[in-house]
Symmetry: C2
Subunit: 450 residues, 2 copies
């Protein structure tokens, strides 16, 4: 028996196992789901044990545990690490899901659930690959799984774990499937991820909500002040972020590398149609795709203040808040941007208003060299399964902890994502195509057995 036959015979079973994984609402950002996140870690421990890991361990942290597993085949074989996350994004707005986020449904060849693509479905590929190669004796590498439950809240404890344990983390590379393919028939390996710096900014005005009739015109409104700050952060003409020093460390790509980037570009018309917008935007001098991948960006991820219930309430709110995040590119440092942003807000004076900044989390950008042997090996495996040589992919998302991992251990990340940009990750109706789930298992088996 080889792994190919086993996949052929058992794929439906794999899908039903994945459904069990997806049913657990392991939302790390919301404390109401605390027990579910722990339950999810236990589920994964059990799955790795059953898949044949030699040693399986729940590593407690200050919040959600790490799941660690080892499989050793040969002391002389290279060691490959596998990273992924078992936590998921909050599912709201709930009313926009066709089927409930934690009741997985199969529709049109895809599995729909929160976490289907980000990242449970993709992580489960490695559990199945371990099981198959273990059963068939085809595994050629020593494996180390290090899976976290806090990726969606910035990986604070895996970050600490690596900072404290990197000297004993020996290996050649870290395999990750938490990104997207350029297209269902267009294989790609992600070589560039953006960094992130996530803040909450609060504007405080009067000590309590005021009647807007009595005081309107005489008291500074915190919502106005916050709107001013938001607008001041980005030049409306060039789209460039106005924080002094922000672009100082930004790596300007060579024309050759920009050509490589463009190979993976989306089609603007397709993207516009899929998002239902009549136009895309971009930084001056860059395409929308480049603006979302190799250039930094800024977004308000949420805003609230004053009366937001039904009907009307005539107040000047006492306070207003916004969640604001920046995406960073090589070679920006999130710590530096953190300081620069705080300074910007400190220097931004609105009479009658006091601003406060809270840093939620941050992470540096990641780049993997195209001539690294791990990249070449992954590329060959992918070519075998997809029938085409994968392109290097420059992507806009962030996996902050990989930057630390790379810097501290010297392991390059190999980001073989099997999702699609259209998977609606972080949004209602997240899904993962089953044919790509299967090709993912095949690619990983191919790579680890040769």
């Amino acid at each position: 028996m080889d792994w190919k036959t086993l996949i052929e015979d058992n794929f439906e079973l794999f899908v039903s196992e994945l459904k069990e994984f997806l049913k657990i609402p392991s939302v790390s950002a919301d404390p109401r789901f605390r027990d579910d996140v722990f339950e999810c870690a236990d589920w994964l421990i059990k799955a790795l044990k059953e898949a044949g890991a030699d040693k399986v361990e729940l590593i407690p942290t200050e919040r959600y545990p790490l799941v660690y597993a080892e499989k050793n085949v040969d002391d002389n074989a290279p060691t490959i690490w596998i990273y992924g996350h078992y936590d998921v994004q909050p599912p709201d707005p709930l009313d926009q899901w066709t089927t409930p986020p934690f009741e997985p449904h199969i529709r049109d060849g895809a599995i729909y659930a929160r976490g289907a693509s980000d990242d449970k479905g993709q992580l489960f590929i490695y559990v199945k690959a371990l099981e198959l190669l273990n059963e068939t004796g085809q595994l050629k590498y020593n494996l180390r799984f290090l899976i976290e439950g806090e990726e969606e809240i910035g990986s604070p404890n895996l970050e600490k774990y690596i900072q404290n344990n990197y000297e004993s983390m020996k290996g050649e590379m870290v395999l990750v499937s938490d990104t997207a393919l350029p297209g269902p028939d267009k294989p790609g390996i992600t070589v560039s991820l953006r960094g992130i710096c996530y803040f909450e900014v609060s504007a405080y005005g009067p000590s309590h909500d005021l009647h807007s009739g009595t005081y309107g015109g005489a008291v500074q409104n915190p919502v106005h002040a916050l709107a001013h700050l938001i607008i001041a952060l980005r030049d409306p003409i060039t789209g460039r972020i106005m924080i002094p020093g922000f672009y100082d460390d930004v790596e300007e790509l060579s024309p050759q590398e920009r050509d490589l980037v463009r190979q993976g570009s989306w089609n603007n018309d397709e993207i516009k149609a899929s998002l239902n917008v009549d136009t895309l935007v971009s930084e001056a001098g860059f395409s929308p795709f480049e603006s979302a991948t190799i250039r930094p960006s800024m977004d308000v991820n949420g805003i609230w203040g004053g009366y937001i219930g039904e009907g009307s309430k005539t107040i000047i709110p006492a306070e207003a808040h916004a969640k604001i995040s920046f995406r960073l590119v090589a070679n920006q440092s999130w710590q530096k941007i953190n300081e620069e942003f705080k300074k910007f807000v400190e220097d931004f004076k609105v009479p009658g208003i006091r601003f406060e900044v809270k840093t939620f989390h941050g992470g540096d950008p990641v780049k993997t060299p195209l001539d690294f042997w791990g990249y070449v090996k992954a590329s060959e495996a992918m070519e075998k399964v997809f029938g085409k040589k994968p392109i290097p992919v420059y992507t806009g998302g962030s996996i902050p902890v990989l930057a630390t991992w790379q810097r501290k251990t010297g392991m390059h990340p190999i980001l073989m994502g099997f999702g699609l940009e259209s998977d609606r990750i972080h949004a209602p109706d997240e899904h993962f195509r089953l044919d790509l789930f299967r090709k993912g298992i095949e690619t990983v088996c191919e790579m680890l057995s040769s």
Copy 2:
């Protein structure tokens, strides 16, 4: 027995009756309180009957009923109307109340509850005055009570009622206590109220929330677009509203009238201390007090969009919303401003964003001439009770329905408020001073018995 002795003997009872009125959470803006609003109308009907009204009637409307009552003393006596409202503002944020909003408490000589000052406490003055003058036979005028339960949501049905019935509404003036005194020892009668125009503006971008890593930099963010619109509405230097035509009809006051306005001005340092702000703002060429009374203003009363829960979520929101209102002054027309604002938003183009405007409600400003006999009579009564001649008060709030009432019936409103600006109406810890509750009863008895 005259009314003075009766007040002396029964004031504590009046306070305990007022507590019963305040216990009913008649929040008109929130449908969850629907039954309570109806219960409150019934309570008021009963109270007016017990006070000695000849005829008491619940007038049903599309939403909350009007409470109507008559007391006739002499066919040849002038008829005076009394207006007030039994509904209250929403009580949130609940956690900022020292004692619960619908459990009235007496502290430091004031009664604390939602509606204590706005408007149940002040309305109840007239119920007690009717009772006292009826019992003592001192009433000199025919009275008509017309009380509504929708003032805090823009008086839609009283507005309609007046539009449909104004021809049968005969009388000389309408007495209202729903405003504030210049100070506890500074009597005043409000002669000017601002109008209002209240909107909800929505900005729609992509058809669903997007991952801000994948798309950040390439897709217009609705929160940014809404912030741009908010900022564009007002000149940051002059504080003037930038809607074309907005100031066309604004009455510019004579230097003499501005002197009268200044008589009632607040003390900026006291206001700053009471609101806990380090500075006030103003329209160029006007004081903060003038900016909040005889000049139009604009406020964002609420804003929301994207992820506003705990922790972080990395999205570009699909939509963002703001409640935006304008205060208007004589001779602006809210219908005209409504059209101008809609046009402004229609003309405000942000690529990739669709704006929508919903008009919630509006009302015109009100002015009462200082030489009207009703004003003179009210002024004399107040002088007797307070020992000082009241000043004419120019105030920033709005009672939209009075504009219609004045225009349709020719009755001038006499706005004898007994609240204080520091009563925290529309905010947590709303309260009403008991000495002013009592002086209110005395003033109204004085006026209606002479």
